[in-house]
Symmetry: C2
Subunit: 424 residues, 2 copies
């Protein structure tokens, strides 16, 4: 950003060009590039027919048609909130009664991103701390930066966030007299962006216990980003972090239909502790006055008519093939390179790749331009870390298998392998 | 709000129950009430058929269908941004070339409300000042409060914001050494909410001149809220405030399809000075990552196929009848009461009514409960003023003729007249 005169503190904190825009510029400049960078969903599997049918159902019901085009409430369309809650508790193997939770704690937002923003805006003042994995979802790191909040990264492993590492971080804040500034712990619990890993049940329980135990100088919330939960290709579903907090004290659960159905419809939600509902709605009221009713009625109808489950099934089959394509290519073209390593995810859209020490994957490192010359694009790992990580790992990168065809995935990995060998 | 522990400063500034929720509770408790309070649009004229046809056009074009369901860009769908700009310059009797403006300065938002929020968040720090009319659009007053911003009201008359009053206010801020804190002047330029009045061309020119002249300790923007521009029932259109700033320096123009087409689709926009585009987009990126593409493609198609113009024509005829119904009822039931007075608007949805001195229209005054007992609901005028107005006028109220039928409008005004006579 060139001229910041007259801008608010927030606007100045928002920083400059995003990674997304740098990558997009590269793609536009060289359209034949195989982008394994974008976290978009696959255009070929977008639910055109289901959406069309759901709209037909809406137009054939005059009351619903009118409601779709009229103002709604800030909290969102009741039938959708009920359906979201019902599906969540069912997937968690429990009931709304057991968890003592009601649809009045479900807030509909413009994607899960807006829920993350609203909750952050409601809880965090400049200088406050959010503990997150290193690496973490980079868009949310940007949001925290925009709020003047300190995102503090802790180590993760093949099972995601490590409770002991969080505990150590909290101990350090307490020792520094700053425990009261730690307001939340953020984790993508299913098929993390960028690491691809999920947090197992026992760690979920430990994280909830930990958040409660440390909530002594003010509450420390656990923000669960479950954006990729439905994108499961192997193995069983895991009960949500939220379900490990049956008294509804510390976990804020964020979900979305953007990945599992359509990002163009952009409907997400939060399930909130009772006390946060009113303040979050006050923020949302000021911000956009409620999400568009037509999108909410559409998703309520898509769920009601059973289109959603059919679509998710189809999506899983399609992405499973792409995941397999990426790993057979990785076995073929990358496994032979000394120092290249990865954890194979069982869902989601991302693979987090470790390259040999000494390779710098960044925009100004040797590999990035080499890879682009070969014809493949990736996300440099360093952009996925919260700021001020003590020792920034420069040899990581993120690949996505969401957008490209199986053939292009194979070709892209092959080109990446070639680029890596060239810079070694 | 009961418990504010652990909330951010912003969340605490957001305040408690809104006027809207108080009024809604009254309506729910007594459903036979005739609400002349809600600023909703008329459910009977919602464009169900046009929306359906526009979607049919989208589904029949595979590229457009995919785009509708895929991620878009933060700034918004190009064809929609072009169409919005084209329509605006055309209505203003000019061209994009003459104003040296491009679609890259048009940002699509979730209604004009979100544009107002984004611009405010981008420009304003806590303690900064926005000058606005007294009265003004109460939702935006809430947004400013939420940001910790001082909304400072200046007198308005039957032609809206008075440039001399703005000039005096700025002179006072300069004398107090606070001119640098004044960042914007906000006005609803067409059929104001709540006053119903529009600002004539010569005042628009004067306001632009004034904003430029006072932009010496930092820029003072003019935020033009043109939400009701299309709802014109009598008289000619007026060129926008924005068109009086041909060098694109100080005016931020906000528009929306919520009132003119459908609030459930919730597509609005801003046309911004070049330098503000990037910072506003940075905020929007953090907030929701771009508005839903499906809604943007829908509105682009609605415009392209000519459905919008047909709908606006129909809407004008319908609302014109309602406006007429309200004023023939006002002539019959209110004109005879000494001290009752109003300015008859030529568009929009609102009428701003002055009652005899000494009548308190507020929730705790005598009139409100009397009116509810009679069976009619209005918005107490005091809620439409920015905070800290030196002498708060208690005898004003806002009526809306948007939602009710002509018969109910007549009956509602009759009941209001009865309630006023009773408390006199």
């Amino acid at each position: 950003m060139k001229n910041q005169d007259g801008l608010s503190r927030r606007a100045r904190w928002a920083g400059g060009e995003t990674i997304a825009s740098v990558l997009m510029a590269r793609t536009l400049a060289q359209p034949e590039l195989i982008s394994l960078a974008a976290g978009f969903v696959d255009s070929e599997t977008l639910p055109i027919e289901s959406t069309q049918k759901a709209f037909d159902a809406i137009w054939s019901d005059p009351a619903r048609a009118k409601a779709a085009l009229q103002y709604g409430t800030t909290i969102g369309y009741p039938l959708l909130r009920e359906a979201v809650l019902q599906r969540t508790v069912q997937a968690d193997g429990t009931t709304a009664e057991q968890l003592n939770v009601s649809p009045e704690q479900v807030v509909i937002t413009a994607g899960s991103n807006q829920l993350l923003f609203l909750v952050s805006d409601t809880l965090l003042d400049p200088g406050d701390v959010v503990i997150c994995g290193a690496p973490s979802y980079f868009v949310y790191m940007g949001t925290l930066g925009n709020l003047g909040v300190r995102a503090v990264g802790v180590e993760i492993d093949q099972h995601g966030m490590i409770p002991e590492a969080v505990d150590e971080s909290l101990t350090r804040f307490e020792a520094a007299g700053e425990l009261g500034r730690v307001k939340a712990i953020y984790a993508t619990t299913y098929y993390d962006n960028p690491s691809g890993v999920s947090i197992p049940a026992e760690r979920r329980a430990a994280l909830v216990e930990l958040a409660k135990r440390w909530s002594r100088n003010g509450k420390i919330y656990l923000v669960e980003d479950a954006a990729y939960r439905e994108l499961r290709y192997y193995g069983d579903d895991i009960p949500s972090l939220w379900s490990f907090d049956p008294t509804g004290e510390v976990v804020i659960h964020a979900g979305t239909f953007s990945k599992s159905f359509s990002p163009g419809i952009r409907v997400g939600w939060g399930i909130l502790p009772q006390t946060l509902v009113e303040p979050v709605l006050a923020q949302k009221g000021n911000l956009d006055f409620g999400s568009p009713n037509i999108n909410q009625l559409l998703m309520a109808t898509v769920l009601e008519q059973g289109f959603f489950d059919v679509h998710v099934q189809r999506l899983r089959e399609s992405y499973r093939k792409k995941l397999d394509a990426m790993f057979s290519a990785a076995d073929e073209f990358l496994a032979g390179i000394d120092g290249v390593d990865w954890v194979r995810p069982t869902g989601g859209l991302y693979v987090w790749l470790r390259l040999p020490d000494g390779i710098d994957t960044g925009f100004s490192g040797a590999l990035f331009d080499r890879a682009v010359d070969e014809g493949v694009l990736y996300v440099p790992g360093e952009y996925c870390y919260p700021p001020n990580v003590p020792k920034l790992t420069k040899n990581m990168l993120r690949l996505s298998f969401g957008v490209q065809s199986c053939d292009s995935i194979r070709r892209g990995v092959e080109l990446l392998g070639r680029a890596i060998r060239e810079v070694l």
